[in-house]
């Protein structure tokens, strides 16, 4: 299990690392409201895929759980959980909460 602050910490930590890798210093200062995709977002679709792949591994390391963040439910929601850093943290907590006990 992860608390909401822990999940957000994972997301922001990953965004900062990606920012360094992609030469986008704005990502190193990311917060709850940072837009991850869309017109004014900091990441392109390749960056978003990389972020999700990296985060799934971070979550596995932190919790021992094998999560898929881009599941069918997430992809069909009206408000995408990948829109902003804070929404992604909510989505991580909800996904872990909905998993059967290990």
């Amino acid at each position: 299990m992860l608390t909401r602050p822990e999940a957000l910490q994972l997301v922001l930590h990953r965004l900062a690392a990606l920012g360094r890798e992609l030469g986008k210093p704005e990502l190193e200062r990311a917060d709850e409201q940072t837009r991850l995709f869309g017109e004014t977002a900091q990441l392109d679709s390749i960056g978003l895929v990389t972020l999700i792949a990296d985060l799934e591994e971070d979550i596995r390391r932190a919790t021992g759980r094998d999560v898929v963040l881009a599941d069918e439910k997430a992809m069909s929601r009206l408000t995408s959980p990948f829109r902003r850093a804070g929404l992604l943290a909510d989505h991580i907590v909800a996904t872990l909460g909905a998993m059967p006990p290990a």
């Binding site: 390749i46 895929v49 990389t50 792949a53 990296d54 799934e56 591994e57 596995r60 094998d66 898929v68």
Partner: protein
């Protein structure tokens, strides 16, 4: 030591590919539904149905859990059926899509994520000369492998920015359990058509596949067919 994951290692081409890479010093992980007791040093088998995405994910996680990275994935597991198109049972068509196409899709997606995390990796999908030849009598099999080829081309474009190289290798007839049900005459005709009248041994098929898989200049999204023939 480089690490490869090969699907379909319980027999046939997958087993021969594993043997060759092990002899070259690779660590090899193998997936098949019914692995046998074969366990040479450096080889780790897991019982996995590649058509089951949950099973694929947990088996791949077992490989990467200790921090190992997968350098090469060969999506080799496959099934075939020869039927006149109008007499092909729907269950057969569905099963070929499940194993050949979806099996490749699930492994590519799961291992692809691990490779994106490593920012590098190579994936080879196994297809058949029957696709460019539009071979009569194999419609369901050919369609499932055509889907594998389309997936290869799109995946190569989508994942190239993260350092992945993805290609496909199409084989002609090779003497394995897959071709046991096919008569000698149609196999001989097919071998003629692809300019290999003497046929192809398993060792030659392995040479051809690994020649491309390990080629440092392998073009992303390329598809390489064994033999020499004009497309249908």
């Amino acid at each position: 030591m480089p690490l490869a994951l090969i699907t379909g290692t319980s027999r046939g081409l997958g087993r021969a590919l594993a043997e060759r890479l092990l002899a070259q010093g690779w660590t090899v992980h193998g997936f098949s539904r019914q692995p046998d007791a074969w366990a040479p040093p450096g080889f780790v088998a897991q019982a996995v149905d590649v058509g089951d995405p949950v099973a694929v994910r947990s088996a791949v996680a077992a490989i990467t859990a200790g921090g190992a990275t997968i350098d090469l994935l060969i999506n080799n597991a496959g099934a075939a059926a020869m039927n006149a198109l109008l007499l092909t049972p729907p269950e057969v068509a569905a099963d070929l899509i499940r194993v050949n196409y979806l099996g490749t899709f699930h492994c590519l997606q799961t291992v692809g994520k691990a490779m994106v995390r490593a920012r590098r990796g190579r994936i080879i999908n196994v297809t058949t000369v029957a696709v460019p030849l539009a071979l009569e009598g194999e419609a369901a099999y050919v369609a499932s492998k055509a889907a594998v080829e389309a997936l290869t081309r799109v995946a190569a474009r989508e994942l190239a920015p993260q350092g992945l190289v993805i290609a496909a290798v199409g084989l002609g007839p090779v003497d394995t359990r897959l071709t046991k049900a096919v008569g000698a005459a149609p196999l001989a005709r097919l071998n003629q058509r692809i300019g290999r009248p003497a046929g192809t041994t398993i060792a030659e098929a392995v040479d051809f596949l690994l020649g491309h898989a390990l080629d440092p200049h392998l073009a992303n999204g390329s598809i390489h067919y064994l033999g020499d023939f004009p497309p249908a």
